[in-house]
């Protein structure tokens, strides 16, 4: 008994045909054992038979396009193991006989209960969102509805849209929506990225670290990339590495964009592009002790030549402008 399987481009089985004879012919014509509706396939394209050692052999029956192996090389005849892929025209085929060994039966996994995790993620996300609102609730004229309720509703809308997008995509590609899993990933991801952002500003304060204040966004984008990757993995676990690389590239693009945004390269800017004083936190939240005066004044002294350089640069620009004065 010979099974001829037609595969999609992603090498998933599309159709499976059983040939009961010792030999199976494949082609476009109706006198074949297996008919392939591919205009690049000959009416009688190829056949499959058992060789003398019992292994399956594919043979070209004189078609114009022939048989190609997985690497694209044209073969007149080729020996087939159960995993060999071959191409006729634009169609991928795989041939197995009844002796093909399949893996043992997998144990059914225990039923996964998603909802406790979903509830936890939801609580976490709402908690973080409310905490962010609370931090900006600092003025006498603060309006609780505008500060707490409206952002929460906006967040709910945005999160729903995000989760729906991934669920629909997963349904299209993997056959089932996995909305619960995407919701857990999205909500936890939001909470983690948000907390990491606060942690970054706090640490840059607590450690007096300008580097952390200036470049901490790289960490945030990497975390965002990890969340993205988790969504992609929820669609399917295949090509996990390739997805990770793609997501990482996107994160790097985002980092570059943010870096360019935060450092305007025009000297016409009135403010200091390198100056990000960072956030304020309560003094008792410091970790390292504050610095001493002398190094600070040393930094201030360095500003004088910097400004002088800017001034000279401007003076040169002015001179080139003045060399062609407007005619009066």
């Amino acid at each position: 008994m010979i099974w001829i399987e037609t595969l999609s481009r992603n090498k998933e089985v599309v159709a499976r045909v059983r040939a009961t004879g010792k030999m199976a012919t494949i082609g476009r014509a109706y006198d074949n054992d297996v008919i392939i509706d591919d205009p690049h396939v000959a009416p009688r394209h190829m056949r499959v038979r058992h060789g003398e050692d019992g292994a399956l052999i594919a043979e070209d029956l004189g078609s114009r396009n022939g048989i190609q192996d997985e690497s694209g090389k044209r073969r007149h005849a080729m020996k087939l193991t159960g995993d060999t892929l071959l191409r006729v025209g634009q169609t991928w085929l795989r041939v197995r006989d009844n002796t093909f060994r399949i893996p043992a039966e997998r144990i059914l996994p225990p039923e996964r209960r998603l909802w406790p995790w979903l509830l936890l993620a939801l609580t976490l996300a709402i908690g973080v969102r409310l905490l962010n609102s609370w931090q900006t609730d600092i003025f006498e004229h603060s309006d609780p509805v505008a500060l707490y309720v409206r952002p929460l509703l906006g967040f709910a809308l945005l999160a729903s849209a995000w989760i729906t997008f991934w669920a629909v995509l997963t349904r299209l590609l993997a056959g089932q929506a996995r909305a619960g899993l995407h919701a857990i990933i999205a909500l936890t991801g939001f909470a983690v990225v948000s907390v990491a952002g606060s942690l970054q500003t706090w640490l840059s304060f607590a450690l007096s670290s300008h580097a952390l204040a200036d470049y901490g966004f790289v960490l945030i984008w990497l975390l965002a990339a990890a969340v993205f990757h988790a969504h992609l993995r929820a669609i399917g676990a295949r090509h996990s590495l390739r997805k990770a690389v793609a997501v990482l590239m996107l994160a790097l693009c985002a980092c570059l964009a943010q870096w360019l945004e935060s450092r305007p390269f025009s000297s016409e800017e009135m403010s200091d592009p390198d100056f990000h004083p960072g956030e304020f936190y309560p003094p008792s939240w410091r970790i390292t002790p504050p610095g001493t005066e002398e190094p600070f004044f040393e930094q201030l002294r360095e500003i004088e030549p910097m400004i002088e350089k800017l001034r000279k640069h401007d003076a040169e620009l002015r001179n080139t402008n003045v060399s062609a004065p407007p005619k009066s």
């Binding site: 609370w134 931090q135 900006t136 609730d137 600092i138 003025f139 006498e140 004229h141 007096s208 300008h210 000297s267 016409e268 800017e269 009135m270 403010s271 200091d272 592009p273 100056f275 004083p277 960072g278 956030e279 304020f280 936190y281 309560p282 003094p283 008792s284 939240w285 410091r286 002790p289 504050p290 610095g291 001493t292 005066e293 600070f296 004044f297 930094q299 201030l300 002294r301 500003i303 004088e304 910097m306 400004i307 002088e308 800017l310 001034r311 401007d314 003076a315 002015r318 003045v322 004065p325 407007p326 005619k327 009066s328």
Partner: protein, 480 residues
């Protein structure tokens, strides 16, 4: 408005109402430029007839004063000038002021701010005069005095030998003028024609670092640089500015400064743009050196704001104002008491360049129902303070920010977070605008936010000032 409105120095501040101090002291230069004309109300008919004149009856008094003004104006008119700054490419005026002849060979006095556009950009602007008899011609710049806002110019065609120039009032030079003396101010307000205005001498302005004569009379835009004279037609001062908050509160550059500048002009030749920039830079450097010396000489007094102590200058030319938000909200979340001091020493250097000012403010914040984190967020909202101004006149700011340990420059100094920014003047090497903000870091729900902004200072002076400023911030919590 080209070189015309002279705000008391309001800096843009985040989330803060416009400082009351700024609203109270607004000065306007009296040069007149495009756009200001419509605001003019040339209602000069409403003469004050109730002038004290004990010997004569009211009608006689009015007649005699009127006769004096007629005579003064009649004598002075041939020597008055209108001075126009003309945009070369359009051949149209950009600003208008006044001036007056002080020598037969064609020297005239006016304000620096009347000529500032030309002084800094002679390729773009030229200066011209128009005399009362309709004659006109061009002017050359001979000398400037930034501190007193004065300039000496030379007419291209001298008026001739028979001409009698303005002389200076000896009484004014010797400081013998008394308050209440009747003065006459002349100029060309709002381009309406030469005008005479009566007013009174009110001595030198109290609480002013710069010597300024307080003249009570209606000076208007366009009269900048015109003379204010006694009834003998002797010059007491040069019209400079008026307060736009008060009525008839006007200011003159003193005659003494004008005489000094004329002497200087005799020694020097014509000034080109490079010479003007050099001179402005040199004068500003000298000016701020004197200013800091005077500041040190006056000394400081300690003032309390909550548990914090700050130093305030004893100099009476600091105008200080206090503000609290205690009465602003029904339910206060953070109490804020602020004290801010301003020198009002701004000098006009050119279009949108004001310099030589110092503003110091200390604000005490105490949380009433905000948590420590929320309170720190509220402090962060007020950061940083930077002086404004046209971008093309300055380099960009360069800033540094750091945390400084407590007790370093003085034993009672709390830990501080300090942000420091400076920018340079594109045309004047060696001059900087500097702003420093220090936020105390000794308490989670209480803080002092101190800010000092200096304009037109040398870098070394700014650093030395910063050291003193930080060392003077103290905390005495044991007293609570």
């Amino acid at each position: 408005m080209v070189g015309c409105v002279f705000p008391g120095f309001c800096f843009y501040r985040l989330a803060m109402p416009v400082s009351r101090a700024c609203l109270i002291f607004l000065f306007a230069c009296l040069c007149f430029s495009a756009g200001a004309a419509l605001a003019a109300n040339a209602d000069g008919k409403d003469r004050d007839a109730h002038v004290a004149a004990p010997v004569q009856g009211p009608e006689d008094a009015a007649r005699s004063l009127s006769a004096a003004a007629e005579r003064v104006f009649g004598e002075a008119q041939p020597r008055l000038l209108q001075i126009r700054t003309v945009l070369k490419s359009a051949q149209k005026q950009s600003s208008i002021g006044s001036g007056f002849l002080v020598s037969a060979d064609g020297r005239a006095l006016t304000n620096y701010h009347v000529l500032a556009l030309h002084a800094l950009e002679p390729d773009l602007y030229q200066i011209e005069y128009r005399a009362a008899d309709g004659s006109r011609g061009s002017l050359r710049l001979l000398a400037i005095d930034i501190g007193n806002d004065l300039a000496v110019v030379q007419l291209d065609t001298p008026p001739g030998k028979q001409f009698e120039a303005f002389a200076f009032a000896r009484a004014a030079l010797e400081g013998r003028l008394v308050k209440g003396e009747r003065l006459f101010s002349m100029g060309n307000p709002l381009d309406l024609g030469f005008t005479i205005v009566e007013g009174t001498y009110n001595g030198l302005v109290d609480k002013s670092y710069q010597a300024r004569v307080h003249f009570t009379g209606a000076l208007n835009p366009g009269m900048s640089g015109g003379p204010t004279v006694t009834k003998d037609n002797h010059v007491v001062g040069v019209n400079v500015a008026r307060s736009i908050d008060g009525d008839l509160v006007s200011f003159l550059a003193p005659a003494e400064a004008a005489v000094r500048l004329l002497e200087k002009a005799r020694a020097g030749g014509e000034m080109d743009a490079a010479a003007v920039r050099r001179e402005v830079g040199a004068q500003m450097n000298a000016w701020q050196k004197d200013f800091f010396a005077a500041l040190d000489a006056q000394g400081f007094r300690e003032t309390a704001l909550g548990p914090y102590r700050v130093a305030e200058s004893k100099a009476d030319w600091f105008n200080c104002w206090a503000y609290t938000n205690r009465d602003e909200w029904r339910k206060l979340r953070v109490l804020m008491n602020r004290s801010s001091c301003n020198t009002h020493t701004q000098l006009f250097l050119g279009n949108e360049i004001y310099t030589g000012g110092m503003e110091i403010s200390h604000a005490y914040f105490k949380s009433i129902d905000l948590d420590a984190l929320q309170f720190s967020r509220r402090l962060g909202v007020r950061h940083p303070y930077l002086p404004g101004g046209a971008g093309n006149r300055y380099t960009p700011f360069r800033c540094r920010d750091d945390f400084l340990a407590s007790g370093e420059s003085s034993p009672q100094r709390p830990a501080l977070r300090v942000s420091w920014c400076a920018r340079g003047y594109r045309d004047f090497p060696g001059l900087y605008d500097v702003s420093v903000v220090a936020v105390t870091q000794d308490h989670d729900r209480e803080a002092l936010v101190s800010n000092a902004t200096l304009t037109g200072v040398q870098f070394g002076n700014a650093l030395a000032f910063t050291r003193g400023f930080l060392a003077a911030l103290k905390v005495r919590r044991d007293l609570d």
